[in-house]
Amino acid sequence: MINGRDAMLAPLQAALRAAKADEAELWVHRRRAAITRYAKNEIHQNAVADETHVQARVVAGGAIGIATANSLDPADLERLLADAKAAALESAPNADWPGLSGPAEVPEPRAFDAETARADAAGQAEAIARVTAAAKGRGFRAAGTHQVELTEDALANTNGAAAYAPGTMAYLRALVTSDTGTGWAEDLGWSTRALDPADVAARAIEKAALDRDRTQLAPGEYEAVFEELAVAEVLRFMSLTGLTGQTLKDGRSFMAGRFGEQVTGPRFSLWDDALDERTLAIPFDVEGTPRRRVALVEGGVAKGVVHDRQSARWFDTRSTGHAADPRRYSVGGHAGNLTMAGGDATREQLISAVKRGVLITRFHYTNTPDPKRATMTGTTRDGTFLIEDGRVTHALANVRYTMSALDLFAGIDLLGPQRLARDWWSSNGMGSIVCLCPPIKVARATITGSSPL
């Protein structure tokens, strides 16, 4: 199942030995994704795909060319390097080119589990059956996904950099639907042992059962409890709009010109740490640079941004190991392993601290109408409740929330324990941000509209 270091790295190194270029780099990302989707208590799609993405970056005359393919055959790699070189020769020299990375000691990969890499279709169906049995037992129906991924990343270049890391990911989501509403729960980790189907089912069922007799919330400002998935959604927009060298260079970041200043509340601290053994990450980036922990905001004070080699060059610093897959993110760094400081407040304590406000489980299809303020807008789903006098009293029709992340986090009153969570975009393959983040109770969240009952 796993190809291993030699099978992934040796073809790259062999191809590079024959490369005729100033500098050349090959990066390969293999992904075997087994995804079982279920709806109405039945599996309706059950797919596995094994794909290998190879990217060649070649420097010729100071210009960079990129070509990609999906084969590690020697002839294909030779052709790929030639294509990348031809592309470089058509491009203009990059006066700011920082050069490819050199050899470096790469930390051992932590997010890999051999047993998870061997997970089969029967095991996935069994986990789903436990969720659907629990839902059916309540007269509800369950939908969701059980996903197991094996990845292998390898990078080599003509400067002698060589890195390899396997990774695994396991994910189970359950959306339980009753006659009156819906409830959501999920588990995420780098091992199938992190998935507890019975617990996922129980949490989703509890919310679905509570989601009845919905009422509408008028637009306005409310106290709020944001669960982990909702917090991850807000963090996504901070990351994309303000935590990278590129956004800083463009003056688009909320950090621009404000390092050392209080940009949000003192209870908010955020850092990027791909080496935290709880998160999903490989220990080097797509340029072969070992990943480093980067403090982003401490006690509400702007501290730093992440860099790849290009943005490090712009700011005369060194790469923090945050070069991203160029198929998804542009040059200039990507903060994709966010950790937000948590606390010890229980769920009950978060809710009981609210006089009148809203509990938000998660968001759907969010966006940012004002990137400079890291403003997010989006509708809630699968568990939106009114809290009155410290108790959940009503289910709410989904609400539209629109607010700057900085304003939201300025109002943090209480923090719960951290949990691994992804925003809607990343959990659905449209982004690559993983958060270790807490549920929070905030003094003020802006609700700008409501969906119908």
């Binding site: 995804i35 794909e51 990129i66 393919a69 279709a121 939908a143 003056g251 940012t368 969906s451």
Partner: protein, 479 residues
Amino acid sequence: MVPERDSQLADLVDLGARRGAAYADARRVEREYEAVAVRDGEVESVTRSADRGIGFRVIYKGAWGFAATDRTDEASLRSVVDEAFARAAAAATTRAAPVALAPVAAQRGEYRTALGRDPFAVPLAERIALLRAADANLKGPHAVSRRGSIAAYRTRKHLVTSEGTDVQQEIVESGAGVAVTAVKAGAKPAQRYDSRLVRQAGWEFIEHLDLPSRAARYRDDAEAMLDAPLAAERPTTLVFTPEFLALLVHESCGHPTEADRVLEHEVAFAGTTFMWPKDRGALRYGSEHVSMTADATVPGGMGTFGWDDDGVPALRTKLVDRGTFVGYLTSRETAAALGLPVAIGSARAEGWQHFPIVRMVNVSLDPGTQSYDTLLRGVDEGLLLEAPASYSLDDKRQNFHFSTQSARVIRRGALEGYARGISFQSLTPAFWARCDRVADDWELHGFLSCAKGEPLQLMRVGHGAAHARFRDVPIEVRA
């Protein structure tokens, strides 16, 4: 024309049938992509990519199983067959009823994009020269970032099924875009861009775009938005460009008419719909001026093909007829599940590694009969929204929020300067009910990356629209 037999695909399908599959198909896909980007007048990147592989799908024991590989040696293909059957067998343990497919006659033939000039054959120097000409027109007093790109895409696809279908397609697409960001002290940065300029066509489409003129218009818009006054926050008449409406149609009509949303296949990701089977023929989706059509036969459409990935030939069907919801986008499976005949084939997979799911084809707002000038003359006071910026939708496609890159003020039937800070949120039927006129200047747009499915699939889709007018739309204004 009957395609040459692909023995590898035919062998896979034969093996599937011998092992007891009620249905099997094998699909070989090869994709090529080439793009050149210019930033601030210099070539920023030239990128080439390619991939190829085979996807194999079976219905076995009443359930789907799918496996895909980028290796075509015998051992890998045997393993793909084993995996597809194992996944179907595992899925079958949860099913109450077997998967059924709506009947379609076996198909044979070839489809190719009609090309004036192959975009891959255009010398890079010619593409770069065009981008540099456009870049020169993006320069303005406050432009801090200028970008342009031209791309070409080619997909070769061969589908063989156990029902006798054997079809080959070669689809070529061309696209381009320009973008400018203007910054001025004390003003909110202004961006003007378009990432939707794609067509199933050759280089002639790139020439048709007239990138230099478009760039000049974007520069003028961005510069003007820097100094534009805030709009007044009150309900007003909105006129939308075809480009803006293409996205509105996509999000608020295309997605909620996808039949897999009705069956809750997408409930845990993309969501469901507010347009249920009981609503067909009854739900007022919009005003009498609003009709929408799904059409996989539109020449040049990004959702045009010979056959979908179920082997259904390109068809055309109504989704909204004079304001009433009437139809769905379906696959063979979802049509059968809903008891519908195959009125449209919308089963599409992004690549070889993807299971075909219900996607849009070309979903368009039907044109009206009035000219744009006449439509505009009917506005005493209002706004022309030119291109979408941020957008956000709920999981039923019922509640949406859009903002705009640039807006023109309409006064007494004429365009008069700019206004900024405008966004609007609405419920879908309430929004389309406000449409009191659609113009006759229908034009086709396309999107490259409609996201749906797990693993995520980015699909090309087409949308036609004309200018249209909406009365008394509440707007939000933020500095």
